[in-house]
């Protein structure tokens, strides 16, 4: 097979090949650290029943939606009371309710958010909890 304009075509194909496969070259042979969010804060240890305001599966999938709704309830409607699926009441507050138990932002929130390169804009208004470097 004779190639016409072979130099340009081969160069183009090499560029194509590396563009398509570069994630392989970046990652091969590296250990992939997976995120392990921690819930071993003093407040959670104190709880008799270690339960978040909603079931774990719901919180894992929908926490961002819940927080977004809470923001709207509290900031826009002035509504500070949340009734969960078990009819229990909670104060709508990121800093006083969520972060009261989950005081370990770095080991809880950031663990997955950094892994997925997600940057929630919670902390552009709220004050992030002070944590001791561990």
């Amino acid at each position: 097979m004779k190639l016409y304009g072979g130099g340009k075509i081969i160069t183009g194909l090499i560029i194509f090949f590396f563009l398509v496969t570069f994630p392989f070259f970046l990652n091969i042979g590296k250990v992939n650290a997976k995120p392990e969010p921690k819930i071993d804060t003093p407040e959670i240890q104190k709880l008799a029943e270690k339960k978040c305001i909603e079931p774990k599966a719901f919180m894992r999938a929908e926490h961002m939606k819940l927080l977004n709704d809470w923001r709207d309830f509290a900031v826009r409607n002035g509504q500070r009371l949340y009734v969960n699926s078990e009819e229990k009441q909670f104060t709508i507050s990121l800093q006083n309710t969520c972060m009261h138990c989950h005081s370990n932002k770095k080991k809880f929130c950031d663990e997955c958010h950094n892994y997925m390169a997600v940057k929630p804009y919670c902390w552009s208004c709220h004050i992030a909890p002070k944590e001791k470097e561990s």
Binding site: M1, K2, L3, Y4, G5, G6, I9, G12, L13, F16, F17, V20, T21, P23, F24, L26, N27, I28, G29, K30, N32, A33, K34, P35, R60, A61, E62, M64, K65, L67, N68, C112, Y115, M116, A117, V118, K119, P120, Y121
Partner: protein
């Protein structure tokens, strides 16, 4: 009806993945085997297709030009639309690939009052095509966050820009809205314009529905039926570092992810055999990538058979003495 065939083909693909994963528990097949196979088919198929094109000679100097050719010094040349240098060709190609400049010139031809031919502007195809392709590219680049451990800043910036309207949570991506509307327009255009419908084949509708399916499952997965997204990244990172995922990880990701991944696998496996190859083909079209220098350089047809010629000089060498003897003048003594 090509569109109905293509539509049900995509529906069938969705069902195959759905049944295979939810009833057949074939996460490994749909999450590992098929993606790898699709990747191999895509890369080798793409390379072979390009090499096959590259092995056809270009017999004539045939750039399609839309401006004044390089001519006498006092006639102004259009250096981009009628390039006589490589730089001109590069600029022209870049404008073509990045902005679809030739499509921008698209015209619609109509008979006015049944008699007079009238040309009007037709820019919607260009706009929808550009919106679709750019969204697709941005979405593709954005997905690199699943394949790189420490996501580089430029990719984070693209994602930040894409979601900067800060609508809802997870943040709405602008490209998600744009790609769905643009592909929908490109489909409706084929259905509602009689001339376009007439020339549309199943091979035109199938990629449209496939891309629509990919975008729709992606949107559903992000905003509605949530999947274990860290699990998705673990699987993706495993795929690009050749680490076998364990069964628990594979089972922990929702079905809709496998449908999304299966449609993408089909997309890439189908790519080298279809019109989607215009991605490589745009760089290989002689009407775009040639320099229009036919007045300066002779373009020799590589197909030309090597004709054996006998020049006058050689003829004279053969018969010089005899010519002299017969009194015929010779050029060289």
């Amino acid at each position: 009806m090509g569109s109905i065939f293509a539509f049900f083909a995509v529906i069938a693909l969705v069902l195959i993945a759905f049944v295979g994963v939810s009833a057949g528990n074939m996460q490994y097949l749909f999450g590992v085997v098929i993606p790898y196979a699709a990747m191999i088919i895509f890369i080798t198929g793409f390379i072979f297709r390009v090499l096959k094109w590259g092995s056809s000679p270009v017999p004539f100097c045939i750039p399609t030009t839309c401006g004044q050719q390089k001519s006498l010094p006092w006639i102004k040349q259009n250096k981009i639309d009628n390039p006589s240098t490589t730089i001109g060709v590069v600029v022209r190609m870049a404008l073509e690939v990045l902005l679809f400049r030739s499509l921008f010139r698209n015209l619609k031809t109509q008979l006015s009052e049944g008699q007079r031919i009238v040309y009007g502007e037709a820019k919607w195809l260009w706009l929808a095509g550009l919106a679709f392709h750019w969204s697709f590219l941005i979405i593709l680049v954005r997905h690199l966050r699943f394949f790189i451990q420490k996501v580089p800043v430029p990719i984070q910036m693209i994602e930040g820009l894409d979601s900067f309207l800060q609508i809802g949570a997870p943040l709405l991506y602008i490209t998600d809205v744009v790609i769905l509307s643009a592909v929908t327009y490109l489909f409706l255009r084929r259905v509602f314009m009689p001339q376009v419908r007439y020339i549309s084949l199943p091979a035109d509708y199938f990629p449209l529905f496939l891309i629509l399916g990919i975008a729709a499952t992606g949107v559903l997965m992000r905003y509605f039926f949530k999947v274990n997204v860290t699990g998705v990244k673990e699987l993706a990172m495993g795929l690009v570092s050749f680490i076998n995922p364990d069964a628990k990880l594979l089972e922990g990701i929702g079905v809709i992810f496998y449908i999304h991944l299966f449609l993408i696998s089909i997309f890439f496996a189908y790519f080298p055999f279809s019109k989607l190859m215009h991605m490589g083909g745009v760089f290989m079209s002689p009407t775009r990538n040639m320099v229009n220098n036919s007045r300066m350089k002779r373009h020799i047809n590589p197909w030309n058979y090597p004709v054996k010629v006998h020049t006058y000089d050689e003829y004279e060498d053969d018969f010089r003495e005899k010519m002299k003897g017969a009194g015929i003048p010779v050029e060289r003594e």
